[in-house]
Symmetry: C2
Subunit: 259 residues, 2 copies
Amino acid sequence: MSDPTPPIIILDKSQMAENIGAVARVMANFGLSELRLVAPRDGWPQERAWATASGADWVLEGIKVFDSVAEAVADLNTVFATTARPRETRQPVRTPREAARVLYDDRASGLGVGLLFGGERAGLETSDIALCQGIVTIPIDPRHQSLNLAQAVAINAYEWRTLVLDAPPPNFREGEPPASGALMLGMYEHLEKELDAAGFFHPPEKFRSMSQNLRVMLGRAAFTAQEAATFRGVITALSKGRGRVLARLAKKAAGEEPR
Amino acid sequence: MSDPTPPIIILDKSQMAENIGAVARVMANFGLSELRLVAPRDGWPQERAWATASGADWVLEGIKVFDSVAEAVADLNTVFATTARPRETRQPVRTPREAARVLYDDRASGLGVGLLFGGERAGLETSDIALCQGIVTIPIDPRHQSLNLAQAVAINAYEWRTLVLDAPPPNFREGEPPASGALMLGMYEHLEKELDAAGFFHPPEKFRSMSQNLRVMLGRAAFTAQEAATFRGVITALSKGRGRVLARLAKKAAGEEPR
């Protein structure tokens, strides 16, 4: 059996082209090759990246650029967000070693897998973390947390390669795989639109945090594509049902008989 | 029990101050603090290192500078050289994970432990690797081997920290610890001086490779301080004995009776 294709690295809002080059270099060191950029500050391509890539040109030349994290993960099934351990989270938190193992098993099972990294200063937004299937936290000394972006990629890429060289028998996923990022996002947006219409997000400024909580909650269920479709059916049924009730009430108020 | 003190990082002939700063930064990320420089190209201190250390000033401020690897490892018992796997070696080769475990056990047993890294371009000299107790090889993709110096330190420092956080019960060394680098170097030099006087290194241009092979061979035995002293006694006895035989022959040739 050949090695599973390595995970895709996704850099969100990276600032310095030099760091993109350094990431490409270290990806090549550990046998990774597919790099995606989400809204790079200075656009892409940037000549300065080639200077720090130290010859890993094929990684830079293969880069794909996206406008949002949602689009960058749309075709992937299992994406982990690399970030400091959040004070409070309902998403599973793994070490780089544990994460490499899950990505390895999922990739061997034919799923699209990736690792998401935040920008140099701001890190990842909670709403983008909520689109991921879990969190990877590098065991940094809390007294000195500022880890260089390329170093964070290096640690994870190294764990991937160490695992691939060990070549343990993969634990294949049984049954249907989890739905893609695109299917899940469509489902979330459908739910949120209907909930919004129903006045669920109250007060309205709570929309953001409430919808994120819902995404994280539902995300943990790891719906298959079929289950996501079923759940959309549920949303439709509930909201249409509500629509019928409202129509009935409106007619009643107008003195008509309900059908 | 408190965690064992982390290994000392030793950079041989580092060229760019920016890299020294980046190494300090990543050491701090993973809880390491003691950094030694051997013959840094531009001298030390260098202001540019502070710019890339991202606040890990205490690491830079604690740096000690040495003229040679031998001096930098003189007080240490277990030092691993981080380098690509040599085509041919008689020294044990370990992964960063395996090396961290040995250093952890040795440190918990009270030994001085360290990791030696070569300069950005030239890497480590064979003669300096021969002073180490083994080799650490990071599992790099052979198609893209140029690993950044700070990344190499990062991988090893990360393995150390991951192990310390797991806090496995240390396997304490039984019996006497191995001799320090200084004691071993003294023993090697003693041996080589006497062998040279005896015409062992023939032809003379073979001195370098032959003495290195001897150091590696004997190094594997991991002599205790007592054993190193005993071995020096052996060297002395053999060479003095040879001296006596020579004196006897000389007297015989001059027509005198041997005593």
